[in-house]
Amino acid sequence: MSRNQDKKLYLSDRPPLTAVKVTMLAVSYCLLFFYVFIVLWPLAQILFTSFNGNHGSYIQIGTSFTFSLKHFNYLFQETYFLNWVVNTILIALATALLTLLFVSLTGYAYSRYRFKGRKASLMAIMLIQTIPTFAGIAAFYTLHSIVAAIAPWFSRQMFLILIYAGGGIAGNTFILKGYIDSISTELDDAARIDGWGNLQVYRLIIMPIVRPMLSVIALWSFIGPFLDYLLPSILLNDPKAYTLATGLHTLVNDVRNMHQPVFAAGGLLTAVPIILLFIALQKQLVSGLASGAVKG
């Protein structure tokens, strides 16, 4: 069959487009392009501003562009930026690890065991989720003072980690429980006959299957501390102990110390660790591993 004849055949599974549908399609595309513009425009501004040597303390629209690294120099030499990066990454890593560890255990337990108060406690977790973390700030503050009085090594950063992880454990337990529920319990039985104990069944059978979900949970727990400003701004009082969000904020919250382009440069660098983690987890995030476990 020649190529010309091929062209005449209508091969799509959908009905042919009418004039109205073509218009609607055009409108949809316009909206999508507009949305893309809204998202990308500020990002482009950050990128250009951070490398533009013509900017002073303030970002001014219409400034001509001269490539320069002076904002980055300022960031690394005049501020505690590296401290903030290390702080944030440590807090984020600790939060992610703590969340993963506990969610693995709670999710597995809620999915596989029947115990008294199982339903009630699940319900309680869900209800507590509806109260914003920030509502408890006064309680957190007092709690930390009490604990720190007994154990002075218990820093405010550690407390922050506990708050983040605590919130993450509750919400993610639900998600992981649902995911494990979808795995046939016959797999557990088979492993038990093969001679594995409960924790081994989780580690060797369940965990590899739920890995995509664990990756998502890890990623979100890791991103959390990067995005949060409120809690660290209240709990942390030493500029060296700040996280990126609170640290960078010091560059734009005071006229005497106004460095908007430096703020933009810091924002740009903040994205790097998250992007790296995302690339590392990309393979795991692709789910569908469980297919083929049971019947065909």
């Binding site: 046939s184 039985d189 088979a190 006959i193 001679g195 590899p208 299957i209 297919s291 019947k295 065909g296």
Partner: protein, 361 residues
């Protein structure tokens, strides 16, 4: 290995009644025992109790005379195949087969030999390094069997292993399973709801219903001498015809004066004890003989004909609307709406007490 169940019972947490109770059973070494029953009768529970996945509430489970109630599944010398196959999805076929042996810290060469041996026997050598998601349903089924085989266990437990296969493959696997059972020389306990599987594979059938054993025996006994009305109705396709009636003078008089059955002498002796009582006559579709006779004869109208080639099933109606199924050779000519006479083959009559459903003759 010989498996004995002594007065076994199971009650689940939070349930009011026992799921199964008073199960007494003896499964000899190298028996192919099929536990048969409708869904929800407790057959899977029974198997899981033998496997050690469910606890035993009362009674004893003995393997070769040793009490197994509190022994861990891995120490019971059993291997189990699950309905969903339960293959570990993240491991290759080879690792799936080797998993239990690795756990027992067998030497690498031993593991390799056993795995390749099982793979060859089951014809899955080609797929040893594929993931379960990459192979077909029939192949997964073989892998599940292989995983049980490599353990070289004393008891083989199978929980509806063929229910996920298509009809053709199921037929093929039935023969394979029997062959495998013979070559392994183990005791096999097989759970199914499919009477064909039970009749074709078993050396011993256990029919469960309502948490109780209804009958234990060889396949032929189930067909020829069902112990009660439930067994009579469960085994055999089409379902056995039943007629309610009373015993009068040693004869069976069907309700609505449909016919009078004059049983053979032995049956008559047994029936005479129930003179005047209500009984049920059961007769399989192939035990009707075409044509009139001076005794046991009746006339029915043919309602629907199912032509199966070798035979034909006639769905007939008596004058009062009572239905029965009669099977006749395929080369006889019948037509719908015709009246035909048949008589009963007295050697194929089953009598049951109407009230208890127990067999009389």
């Amino acid at each position: 290995m010989k498996v004995q169940l002594v007065n076994l019972g199971k009650k689940y947490e939070g349930r009011e009644n026992f799921t199964i109770r008073h199960i007494d059973l003896e499964i000899d070494d190298q028996d192919f025992c099929v536990i048969l029953g409708p869904s929800g009768c407790g057959k899977s529970t029974l198997l899981r109790m033998i496997a050690g996945l469910n606890s035993i509430t009362e009674g004893d489970l003995l393997f070769d005379g040793k009490r197994m109630n509190k022994v861990e599944p891995k120490d019971r010398d059993i291997a189990m195949v699950f309905q969903s196959y339960a293959l570990y999805p993240h491991m290759t076929v080879y690792d799936n087969l080797a998993f239990s042996l690795k756990m027992r810290k067998e030497r690498k060469t031993v593991i390799h030999d056993r795995v390749t041996e099982a793979a060859e026997l089951l014809q899955i050598s080609e797929y040893l390094y594929s993931k379960p998601s990459e192979i077909s349903g029939g192949q997964r089924q073989r892998v599940a069997l292989g995983r049980a085989m490599v353990r070289k266990a004393g008891v083989f437990l199978l929980d509806e292993p063929l229910s996920n296969l298509d009809a053709k493959l199921r037929e093929h696997m039935r023969v394979e399973l029997v062959r495998l059972h013979k070559s392994l020389e183990t005791t096999t306990i097989y759970v199914t709801h499919d009477q064909t599987e039970a009749m074709t594979m078993a050396t011993k059938i256990v029919l469960l219903d309502d948490g109780k054993v209804q009958q234990v025996g060889k396949p032929a006994e189930f067909y020829d001498r069902p112990a009660n009305l439930f067994v009579a109705g469960f085994i055999g396709s089409p379902t056995m015809n039943r007629f309610g009636g009373v015993v009068e003078g040693g004869h069976f008089k069907a309700d609505g004066d449909l016919f009078v059955a004059e049983p053979e002498k032995e049956d008559r002796d047994k029936l005479s004890a129930y003179e005047g009582q209500r009984v049920v006559l059961g007769i399989r579709s192939e035990r009707f003989i075409a044509g009139e006779s001076d005794k046991n004869s009746f006339t029915v109208k043919v309602d629907v004909i199912e032509m199966l080639g070798k035979e034909q099933l006639l769905y007939c109606k008596f004058a009062d609307g009572k239905e029965c199924v009669i099977s006749e050779p395929g080369y006889f000519t019948y037509a719908v709406e015709e009246d035909h006479s048949f008589h009963l083959d007295t050697a194929g009559l089953h009598f049951f007490l109407e009230e208890s459903g127990e067999r009389i003759n």
